[in-house]
């Protein structure tokens, strides 16, 4: 077994005082996140079956693949990613600031409230109350509650940051900005196109929302956590502080300007489309500096990628992130859009970034943190390896497959073949995607089994072999 999964946390947080980190809450958030992950995987599985006409459940509106498709994305964004973020932030922010969050009861209240928000979203969508905004299908009556929840989250975590004296670490820049952005993004995307503006203007705002949700909520929080966990695991500082600054401010300036690139060739005026295209390409240069910074950090410790599982998850995610962004710089141009917009190419891109990057980072954090939360090394390092390789193989095959499918679909459509030709031509790709998805699901089942066994070990009576082994 690797050093990192067997050694129990040696950082000084526990010495500062009891109650600095509410570890139980971190654990709860991660478990909730995993529960939603499986709901999301089921939705994806159902939709994949439907696409190849193998869906066995028809005739019930509560199992409609169309509705489950929305549960699929919302459960990932608000169930899996948001809960994982909250858990990881509860771990990282008190350590970075050496101060507890604003209020412990408030933390528990937020936990409960957020689960209510996520479950109501899923139930609302299944009952047929979805709102017509991509990534924001949350029924309209939940939107204000979610917004209050986001404000409470920001208050709870900003308190220790505000009270910290002296220079702030990079991670905290990202977290602070993300709290502001997430709140503003959610308010803009869920209310403006619904109540204030129709048509083309609403489309521009919906584009901003789709993109800001990834770019201003998920991305900054996730990179902030990378800036926190990578140096701790590698036991050396981030390579270049200057590049960290470039990365943060580059993201802050260019990312919010990208949104309209989701709706190219729509009636949105061309000059706005070009603005979004240019700033998207600019983002990719910024991303390159961040990637260089992280590879500069691991330079000389490359072996950690083999021996240290969390580091392997993180750096695999970063390579995939670079691929996603390089792809984005190309596909955002009008030239590519002609061919690949509306096709499975985009679906492959979305899966690569949401699963291949951000979910992988969380699996890394969970692989690192569960042994510390449970005070028990992983039941099986081998199963951790299976989790990694099944997930990587699944997402890699799915990405290549869907990207290719997109190119084929684009040519079928452009050459004015009957629509059915594009569907029939997609079947081989959709079948491959189904099995790639099954590999991903299998990987997560392995992870859950491993976690379950680890949990059982952690609850064995004190004095047993494993307790002696840790000590």
């Amino acid at each position: 077994m690797s050093k990192i999964t067997t050694r129990i946390d040696d950082n000084r947080a526990d010495d500062i005082g009891p109650g600095l980190v509410e570890e139980r809450l971190v654990l709860w958030y991660f478990l909730a996140a995993l529960a939603y992950l499986f709901i999301s995987l089921s939705g994806g599985f159902l939709m994949a079956l439907q696409l190849v006409q193998w869906n066995p459940i028809t005739g019930s509106e509560y199992f409609s693949p169309g509705r489950w498709r929305m549960v699929h994305t919302n459960a990932i964004a608000y169930g899996f990613l948001a809960n994982s973020f909250l858990g990881a932030l509860h771990w990282a922010i008190p350590r970075l600031t050496l101060k507890p969050v604003l209020s412990r009861p408030l933390s528990y209240f937020i936990f409960a409230a957020w689960q209510v928000v996520v479950v109501s979203t899923a139930v609302g969508i299944l009952m047929g109350q979805a709102q017509g905004i991509e990534w924001g299908e949350t029924p309209v009556w939940i939107d204000p509650l979610a917004l209050v929840g986001l404000a409470l989250v920001a208050a709870n975590f900003m308190a220790p940051i505000v009270r910290t004296k002296g220079p702030l670490y990079v991670s905290l820049w990202y977290f602070m900005a993300a709290f502001v952005w997430t709140f503003l993004t959610y308010a803009m995307g869920n209310f403006m196109p619904q109540y204030f503006v129709p048509g083309t203007s609403a489309g521009a705002i919906a584009g901003l929302f789709i993109h800001d949700l990834v770019g201003l909520f998920v991305t900054p929080l996730a990179w902030g956590l990378m800036y926190y966990f990578v140096p701790i695991l590698l036991k050396k500082p981030i390579w270049s502080h200057g590049l960290s600054l470039v990365g943060f401010w580059g993201l802050a300036f260019f990312y919010p300007l990208n949104g309209i690139h989701h709706f190219l060739y729509t009636p949105i005026p061309d000059f706005l489309e070009y603005g979004a295209i240019v700033s998207t390409i600019a983002v990719e240069f910024v991303v390159t500096t961040v990637i260089i910074n992280f590879f500069g950090t691991i330079w000389g410790s490359g072996r950690a990628i083999v021996t240290n599982l969390p580091i392997r998850w993180f750096y695999t995610g970063m390579v995939l992130y670079f691929i996603t962004c390089a792809q984005c710089a190309m596909q955002v141009t009008h030239t590519f859009q002609k061919l690949i917009h509306f096709s499975d190419w985009v679906v492959g891109h979305a899966h690569l970034v949401m699963f291949g990057v951000f979910s992988m980072w969380f699996f890394g954090m969970m692989t690192y943190l569960f042994p510390r939360l449970l005070k028990q090394p992983w039941y099986s390092r081998n199963l951790c390896e299976w989790h990694f390789w099944l997930s990587l193989a699944g997402i890699f095959v799915m990405f290549i497959d869907l990207t290719l499918a997109g190119v084929f679909q684009g040519f079928y459509w452009g050459s004015l073949q009957p629509w059915e030709a594009s569907v029939e031509g997609s079947y081989p790709f959709w079948i491959t995607r189904l099995f790639a998805g099954l590999a991903i699901i299998a990987g997560q089942l392995v992870f859950i089994y491993n976690l379950w066994q680890t949990w059982r070990l952690s609850h064995r009576p004190v004095g047993s072999y494993s307790a002696a082994a840790i000590a």
């Binding site: 028809t58 005739g59 019930s60 409609s64 169309g66 509705r67 498709r69 929305m70 047929g128 979805a130 709102q131 017509g132 905004i133 991509e134 940051i161 505000v162 702030l168 820049w173 503003l184 803009m188 403006m192 503006v197 129709p198 048509g199 083309t200 203007s201 609403a202 489309g203 521009a204 705002i205 919906a206 901003l208 201003l216 600054l245 401010w249 802050a252 919010p256 300007l257 949104g259 309209i260 709706f263 060739y265 729509t266 009636p267 706005l272 009008h334 859009q337 061919l339 917009h341 509306f342 985009v346 452009g414 004015l416 073949q417 009957p418 629509w419 059915e420 030709a421 569907v423 029939e424």
Partner: protein, 220 residues
């Protein structure tokens, strides 16, 4: 400034977000502020749509009577509104787009390239452009096929289009009978027939050439 709390919160958090909002959202809002937003009643005055709604009553008299009574414009407006709700709730917009691009031969396949005025109405709140096409674009679908075709297609898509991956929407029908569309079924058909009803070319039939014919050697 670049590492201070106020700099990050005010410049990065608020400032850059607002800059993006002003340049990317407020600009189109101002550009289109004089374009009137059509109400649902105005949309229900469309003759093409009224024809389709009356056609629904002729085809499904009992069901129509039961759920909508008379084909008045008021009831048409109600059906349109419900149809849009169903379209959103079922996630139709995740597999069908509602705009025709000026590229990729789309105007040959579907007709006029999309323009802003088409979306300036309450049924486009939020706008239903969509980002994926598993099935074809629907913004010129209205009038292209009859109401009975639409009903049967909602009931069991592969029946009419064998390779279709579209799910069955049996809950749009009473007693699991494709000849008995219920309130939601009649509404979604009305909504689909509305799409493109504002165009001069309505219906616009697809230039369809079977694959076998396309593949044939013209010299033979």
């Amino acid at each position: 400034m670049f590492e201070s709390k106020s700099g990050i919160l005010l410049i990065g958090g608020l400032g850059f977000f607002l800059f993006a909002f002003l340049s990317n959202a407020l600009v189109p809002i101002l550009l289109y502020r004089h374009l009137p937003e059509k109400t649902i009643e105005e949309l229900a005055e469309n003759q093409n749509l009224i024809y389709q709604f009356e056609d629904l009553r002729v085809r499904y008299p009992e069901q129509f009577e039961k759920y909508y009574g008379e084909p008045t414009q008021e009831n048409l407006a109600a059906a349109l509104e419900l149809g849009r709700e169903v379209y959103t709730a079922e996630g139709c917009w995740h597999c069908h787009s509602q705009f025709v691009r000026p590229v990729s031969n789309e105007s040959v396949r579907w007709g006029k390239v999309a323009s802003s005025d088409e979306y300036q109405n309450v049924l486009q709140r939020p706008v239903m452009w969509g980002t994926r096409r598993v099935g074809p674009d629907l913004s010129r679908e209205g009038g292209r096929r009859g109401n009975d075709w639409q009903a049967l297609h909602f009931y069991d898509p592969p029946m009419l289009s064998p390779s279709s991956p579209m799910p069955r929407y049996t809950w749009f029908f009473d007693e699991n009978d494709p000849a008995k569309p219920n309130r939601r079924g009649l509404a979604i058909i009305t909504y689909v027939q509305w799409l493109g009803s504002w165009l001069e070319q309505y219906p616009l039939y697809e230039r369809f050439i079977p694959l076998e014919e396309q593949m044939q050697n013209p010299l033979e």
